[in-house]
Assembly symmetry: C2
Homo-oligomer: 207 residues x 2
C-alpha cells in the first residue's frame, strides 16, 4: 500500500478554511481523504462528541503522550493542550488515505520538522477590506479583542512563504476547485499511478 499524503492547511481567521475542507469532504473524489481529529485537555462542550470533534483527554494523559513523542505538533493555549496524534494519523496514512490538518503556522512548522514530505497549503482572503470586514463581523467582540485578532491575523499571514501552495479564497467554488487540483495532481504523479495501475501497465507491456 502506498502512503497517503498529509496536508496541512493554514489560514488567517475568517478566510473560510473550515468551509473549504467541509466542502472538500463532500466532493466525490476517487481516493479517500479524512480530517485529522485533535486531542485536547479542554472541557467537552455539551454539543461536542468525543472522537468526532476532539479526543478529550486528561492533562496527565496528554503529558504522557508528549513524553512518548506521540504528537506531530501540539500547543498550550490559555491553560489547555491541543495536539495532533502521530500514531493515529500514521495509521490512517499507512492505509493509503490522505489526511487533512487545520492548524496555524506554529503547528505547521513543528510538522515540517517531523514530516518533510508534508504538503502545506495557505489560504488568503481576496482583499484587505474583505479581511477586515470578516474580522469585524465575526461575533460581538469588543474593539480590543478585534484589534488582537487583527494583529494575530497579520502575524499568521507573514508566514505564507513557508507553505508549498497558496490559494486565494475570493470565489468559493474556484478556491475549492484549486484545492481539489492540488490533491488530484498529487495522485497523478508517477509513483501513485504506477501503484494504482500496476495491472493495466503490466498488461499493456505484454507482447
Amino acid at each position: 500500500m502506498i502512503q497517503g499524503t498529509l496536508y496541512v492547511i493554514s489560514a488567517p481567521s475568517g478566510t473560510g478554511k473550515s468551509s473549504l475542507i467541509k466542502a472538500l469532504l463532500k466532493t466525490q473524489l476517487s481516493y479517500n481523504i479524512r480530517v485529522s481529529i485533535s486531542h485536547t485537555t479542554r472541557m467537552k462542550r455539551t454539543d461536542e462528541k468525543n472522537g468526532e470533534h476532539y479526543f478529550f483527554i486528561t492533562k496527565e494523559k496528554f503529558q504522557k503522550m508528549i513524553k512518548h513523542n506521540d504528537f506531530f505538533e501540539y500547543a498550550y493555549i490559555f491553560g489547555n493542550y491541543y495536539g495532533t496524534s502521530r500514531s493515529i494519523n500514521e495509521k490512517i496514512l499507512n492505509s493509503g488515505v490522505d489526511v487533512f490538518l487545520e492548524i496555524d503556522w506554529q503547528g505547521a512548522q513543528q510538522i515540517r520538522n517531523k514530516m518533510p514530505r508534508v504538503c502545506t497549503i495557505f489560504i488568503l482572503p481576496p482583499s484587505k477590506n474583505e479581511l477586515m470586514h470578516r474580522l469585524y463581523t465575526r461575533g460581538q467582540d469588543s474593539e480590543e479583542n478585534i484589534n488582537i485578532r487583527i494583529k494575530q491575523t497579520i502575524t499568521e499571514i507573514k508566514h505564507y512563504r513557508e507553505y508549498d501552495y497558496i490559494i486565494i479564497n475570493d470565489d468559493f467554488n474556484i478556491a475549492l476547485d484549486n484545492l481539489k487540483s492540488i490533491i488530484k495532481s498529487r495522485h497523478l504523479k508517477l509513483k501513485y499511478q504506477m501503484h494504482r495501475y500496476d495491472n493495466l501497465i503490466n498488461k499493456l507491456l505484454e507482447d
Copy 2:
C-alpha cells in the same frame, strides 16, 4: 515576469493525446498556454500553413540551427528533420506563457537533459484491448504496418517511468480534467502565487 512552464506530453499512438491538447487549448484557464510549433525539412502539404502546422525550412537551415544549438530536441525520421526550437520557445516561456510539446520518449529524453525543470506527462490507454482496437482501426494499414506500430507502441510505453505524471485516457473528460489539474496546481505553487498576488499580499501585511 515569472517564466512559464514547459510541458512535454508523450503517449503511444492512438491514445488521444492530440485531442486532449486541442480541448485544453479551448478551455478557459486563467493563464496562457501555447502549443509549440516544430521545425521540419519535409515538404509542406497543400492544406498546411507555414508557422501554423510547422515551420518549413531547408535542410541547410536546419543543420545550421543544430550547429548553433538551437534545438531543445530534434530527430531525423525517414529522410527528414523534425525539431523544437529553443530560442522561439524560450521567448514564449520568458513572457510567462506555458508551452506544450507533443513529442515521443526520445525527444523527451533530450529535453530533460537541457531543461531539468520541464514537466513531463505520459498518457496511457485504458486497456490492452482498447489500445489494440485503436491501433487496428487507424487508417487502412497493412498487417505488417500494424505490427510495426504495435512494437513501437510497446517501446514507447516502456518509457512511462521517466515521466513526472501519468494520465489514463479512459473517460476523455476525466483525462482532460486531470491534465488541467496538473497545470492549475503548478500555478498555485508559492513562487507563482507570490508573483501573481504581490500587490494583494503587500496590502494584507500593512498595519
